[in-house]
């Protein structure tokens, strides 16, 4: 009687204990630990993906695409899910143009993820997808393309593997171009497929703004071709060409040599990727005489038609400064001094002007100060403080040695003269456009008056003589049908390696039409085999200016008289046969 009851009682106790344990565990799991388990379960089901934004495109001023982002496909595999690695490798190898053994090695790795090919085009991706190999998948990645190759490469810059701007406009406008990444939260089944009725929270990415540049693709191409021909033809180290609209500061073209292809920027050198027009300084030489002349005219030190007695050498301090070629003492108008690029004549005017005034005007024209262009890494140039000038500085600085500028700065100087004495900050971005197509013009550039309008006009007439007068140094810059005002330049070149002078930098910077200036073009050639800008840079200037005038439909404009009366020859002979010889010689700078 007692035993069955004991057994029953024991069983009951056991069952009760078991149930109590289960109930206790239930309370523990569902009550105290519920949050943790909910989190674990959520982590197993939910996946959070970052949605990269579409990087904004870059257009030229006419809407031609210069930089564009495209989705390309990346092929990857989970080797654990590839049933026959050898067969898969043999199928994929011809499509991906890869070594089958290399693919096989990847597909046999003890890993859950291997890249098989990155950023392939969509047609190829479709072929890979069509193979339907288990464990092999595709994922979209964005890649930056530059459809015009190396056109405006230095301006555009380039992006890195993560699509972040690393140079040029791409870097400077990174925040505008990049956009904001989005995010999607979804529930997935064990096979990785989205659960249709599961959680789905989407924060869409915001596409980056598009940039519309001031660059004109056609003029840019013409500038690059002219520069390439010049640099190659004169065996130069490099060079730059800048085309500006003086009235707005818009950069229509900015070409540099050597160049690179931003689609494959990794294959280029730092040297080739540098935007020399903005980052490299050089001593401008005779083109800087424009500033000396402007200061002298505006300070009423001398007028364009005033006559100077000009020997071929002049001692300042301990040094003797000479003209490019020896000549007897000549009487030259100030206009002729500039047209013939006489160093001695310019130095004599500078002595009348004084170093303080000259320093003031060099500063006014922007020497030693960044132009403020919307481009990274701009060099400020170099203008020594007037207190630090040596005695001999009055023999070098008035003729553009001992100071340093960038090609952009020097082109801006001439653009200021062209713009009736008002300097306008150069700019590269004309407008931005958001993803919805709303266009916002860039802020109007800053401007300030440097010289008065009358000085600017008189200076223009003087600079016209550089290309139009018989002894002018810039005759090769003439564009038939147009009046061209400009100045040649040739200066000792500072060797970046040694820091000393080695070779020359030649240049021609000018504007047209002289009567109603619409364009300013600067050409700077680094260490060409011929050491004068009249021979190296002036023809390139002509080529670019002629193309740009025609392309933009700019007519010849009103005709200006050339300033100053050209004299028939040397009035005072220095014992040499003089004038005819000087006229016959190729002009110096």
């Amino acid at each position: 009687m007692g035993k069955p009851r004991l057994r029953l009682a024991s069983l009951f106790v056991l069952l009760a204990l078991g149930l109590a344990a289960i109930a206790g565990r239930l309370v523990w799991v569902q009550g105290f630990e519920s949050t943790r388990y909910v989190e674990i379960a959520t982590q197993q089901r939910e996946r959070r993906f970052t949605l990269p934004p579409q990087r904004g495109s870059i257009y030229d001023r006419d809407g031609a695409e210069l930089a564009i982002s495209m989705d390309v496909q990346t092929v990857f595999a989970n080797p654990h899910f590839v049933p026959d690695a050898a067969a898969a490798a043999n199928l994929l190898a011809p499509l991906l143009q890869a070594d089958p053994a290399e693919l096989l090695e990847k597909l046999e790795r003890e890993s859950g993820f291997v890249y098989l090919a990155r950023k392939i085009d969509s047609q190829l991706a479709e072929k890979v997808r069509a193979l339907g190999i288990p464990g092999v998948s595709l994922v979209a990645e964005s890649k930056r393309f530059y459809p015009a190759g190396n056109l405006a490469a230095h301006l555009l810059g380039f992006v890195g593997l993560d699509n972040n701007g690393l140079g040029g406009i791409e870097a400077h406008y990174e925040e505008r171009l990049r956009g904001e990444p989005g995010e999607v939260l979804m529930e997935r089944d064990p096979a990785g497929r989205p659960i249709p009725a599961g959680t789905w929270r989407l924060k869409p990415p915001t596409a980056g703004d598009h940039l519309v540049l001031t660059i004109d693709r056609e003029i840019q191409f013409a500038a690059e071709k002219a520069l390439e021909r010049t640099v190659t033809g004169f065996d130069a180290v490099g060079g730059s060409i800048v085309v500006l609209r003086p009235s707005t500061g818009e950069v229509l073209a900015m070409a540099n040599m050597p160049t690179f292809d931003p689609n494959e920027f990794g294959a280029s050198t730092d040297e080739a990727r540098r935007n020399r027009a903005v980052t490299d300084m050089y001593e401008p030489g005779s083109t800087s005489k424009v500033v000396t002349a402007a200061a002298a005219i505006e300070s009423n030190v001398i007028g364009p038609a005033d006559v100077l007695s000009v020997p071929d050498r002049l001692q300042i301090g301990s040094k003797v400064f000479t003209d490019y070629r020896p000549h007897p003492v000549m009487d030259l108008t100030f206009a002729d001094v500039i047209a013939q690029s006489s160093n001695v004549g310019t130095l004599k005017v500078a002595q009348l002007l004084g170093k303080e005034k000259l320093h003031e005007y060099l500063g006014k024209f922007g020497y030693g100060r960044r132009t403020g262009i919307d481009f990274p890494g701009e060099a400020p140039g170099m203008l020594p403080d007037v207190d630090a000038w040596w005695t001999t500085s009055m023999g070098t600085i008035p003729i553009g040695q001992g100071v340093a500028v960038t090609p952009l700065q020097m082109t801006s100087v001439l653009a200021t003269v062209a713009n009736r004495g008002v300097a306008v900050t150069p700019r590269i971005v004309l407008a931005t456009r958001d993803a919805r197509g709303n266009r916002s013009p860039a802020a109007a550039p800053e401007d300030h008056r440097v010289i008065d309008e009358r000085t600017s006009r008189r200076l223009t007439e003087i600079l016209l003589g550089v290309t139009e007068k018989k002894n002018g140094t810039g005759k090769l810059a003439r564009v038939p049908g147009y009046q061209i005002a400009g100045k040649t330049g040739s200066a000792d070149r500072v060797d970046p390696g040694s820091g000393g002078y080695q070779g020359y930098v030649t240049s021609f910077i000018g504007f047209a039409p002289a009567g109603d200036p619409q364009l300013a073009v600067g050409v700077v050639i680094d260490n060409p085999s011929v050491h004068v800008g009249s021979v190296t840079a002036a023809p390139a200037f002509k080529e670019v200016m002629q193309f740009a005038l025609r392309h933009l439909g700019i007519g010849p404009g009103p005709v200006l008289p050339t300033e100053g009366t050209p004299l028939p020859g040397p009035v005072r002979s220095g014992g040499e046969s003089g004038s005819s010889e000087i006229s016959a010689l190729p002009a110096g700078d």
Binding site: E65, I68, D121, S122, P147, P194, E218, Q220, P556
Partner: protein
């Protein structure tokens, strides 16, 4: 041989006082009660069957709805993939157009067919006043 245990036979219990049971004449009364109970359980059966059918239909409908929802979601996913693919193709075509329009490519193509750079532009000055009609 052991004799089988004798079972105690209960004598029928005397009819209790106040019992509701009563004897009905004839044997029909027993048989006549059966059809009556069948008749009374039919509505319950019908109700049960109907409820089962409705429940089954409801469950089936629910499953069907879920399947349709799932199909729609997969279809939506497929369409979204297609949209992405077409957008990618569109961008690729834009890239091809831009590449084809690049000045360097056009210049090369022009040279290939024998085109040359135009000569220098000439300007003719028009007379200041148009000639009279007389």
């Amino acid at each position: 041989m052991a004799s089988a245990p004798r079972r105690r036979v209960r004598s029928p219990a005397p009819a209790r006082k106040g019992s509701h049971l009563r004897v009905i004449a004839g044997g029909r009364a027993r048989s006549s009660t059966k059809p009556a109970s069948r008749l009374s359980s039919r509505p319950a059966l019908r109700f049960g069957a109907a409820a089962a059918i409705v429940l089954a239909a409801f469950v089936f409908g629910l499953v069907l709805l879920h399947v349709l929802l799932a199909q729609s979601a997969f279809r939506l996913q497929s369409l979204q993939d297609e949209v992405r693919l077409q957008e990618a193709r569109f961008r690729e075509m834009r890239y091809r157009v831009a590449s084809s329009e690049a000045p360097a490519r056009i210049a090369e193509a022009a040279e290939d067919i024998g085109l040359v750079v135009p000569g220098e532009q000439r300007y003719l000055l028009a007379p200041e006043e148009p000639p009279g009609e007389e």
